[in-house]
Assembly symmetry: C2
Homo-oligomer: 225 residues x 2
DNA sequence: AACAATCTAGAGTATATACTCTAACTCATA
DNA sequence: TATGAGTTAGAGTATATACTCTAGATTGTT
């Protein structure tokens, strides 16, 4: 009788949490534009009235999902290791980020529309991006200190971080629109092929001593097409 | 009394062309999701019936706009110079592409949704992208032959072209969502700051002999923030 | 002038969707 | 057991929007 697919957890969740999870699932699967509040309620087997008891409107649902997304990515990017970074660390960062991107993959799709209709989200997302760019910069710095990347100027680092961010956040859209794959056939593994692109970006700045290693690890993510 | 802002041209245009132009303007300005067919008709001072005499549905309007966009970009990218490429040529290519991107800036915003609801567009856009990537690759090849870029393997060239494409097509979205600027304050010049990012991408592959020149030209597009 | 093809007006419709309202149920605690 | 806060059901509403239908206007051709 459990109308949602979140298995064991759902028994311990309250309605509000269930709504958020179901919405995320449906948004990811069908695109937010195609998912109505009535759909969400029906999917959970609850009434629209119940849904609107917990959320004033649809935008509020999206906002709460954003807060979770933000927390996740912040956590991934800010996690300090307490030691010198390794090449493996760097791939782990990328894996983590693409993992988060996958779990909330609906978000970047109609982002502009959300920001237009919710000032909280607009401000929140703006500082979120800046924070991410900062984090990427400091990771780059630590990679330089660990002699993995060649030293760069602060400016070049920022430009590089931005390019990496652009590639990461647009990779999903590229797969869905330009690549041959059918929209529903994109799997988490396919998404992670974006790692290949990002690593390619930094290849010219990798120190000779670890270049072979980086290139070997990079091959694992090589896009199949 | 002229309801559209296309000046002189409009007098010689038939209704169908007027609808396309007005739609493009309104889509660019307000986002396609916020522009209804009734809005378009009202904006032109024609009846909805008239609009639907010329277009079976809204998707058809978008499709025709795509065809124009496609023609424009194809033309920009495939234009051969008949001589060896120069550094200036390369910046001209970038200028042209960003120009096209600006004129049809609504398009990439809800692209996924369009492709979902129009198979023609899906197939058309997919081959359009592949064609663009091919064109970029051949431009890169010619830049190598002109000793502007260091020689690369076919594979590396493809990867590089894809990264460039990702940055180009996502720059507008970045400006609207993450950068401090207000959505309506983005001008064509701001968009062209994306050129800075793309050129930064290729900097490691630029031959010493022209490096200074490239860097000097690049400075003109440096993002203000 | 007569006719047909093309074009246009504008009221109208079917449907979707975000959201509301009230009554009723649950359940812990006094 | 009574009370009351918190929660839920479900019918219902207001509005938007893509699109239709028919009657009439315009235009070009013989």
């Amino acid at each position: 009788m459990a109308p949602q697919e979140h298995g064991d957890k759902s028994k311990q969740m309250n309605t509000k949490e269930k709504i958020i999870l179901a919405s995320l699932d449906l948004f990811n699967e069908n695109g937010e534009r195609n998912v109505t509040t009535n759909h969400i309620a029906a999917h959970l087997g609850i009434s629209p009235g119940n849904l609107y008891y917990h959320f004033r409107n649809k935008t509020d649902i999206i906002y709460e999902i954003f807060l979770q997304y933000q927390m996740l990515v912040d956590h991934y990017l800010q996690a300090p290791t307490g030691r010198q970074l390794t090449v493996e660390d760097q791939f782990a960062y990328l894996e983590a980020v693409f993992d988060g991107l996958w779990s909330y993959r609906f978000f970047h799709r109609e982002l502009e529309h959300y920001l237009e209709s919710d000032p909280r989200l607009r401000d929140g997302y703006q500082s979120f991006t800046q924070r991410c760019l900062e984090s990427i910069c400091s990771i780059l710095e630590r990679l330089e200190k660990a002699s993995i990347l060649k030293p760069q100027s602060e400016d070049d680092r920022r430009t590089f971080a931005l390019n990496a961010w652009l590639i990461v956040t647009s990779w999903m859209s590229y797969l869905k629109t330009a690549a041959g794959s059918d929209a529903h056939l994109i799997r988490k593994e396919t998404l992670k092929q974006g790692i290949y692109q990002v690593v390619s970006l930094e290849l010219p700045f990798v120190n000779e001593s670890v270049l072979d290693k980086v290139q070997r690890l990079r091959q694992a993510y090589r896009p199949s097409i």
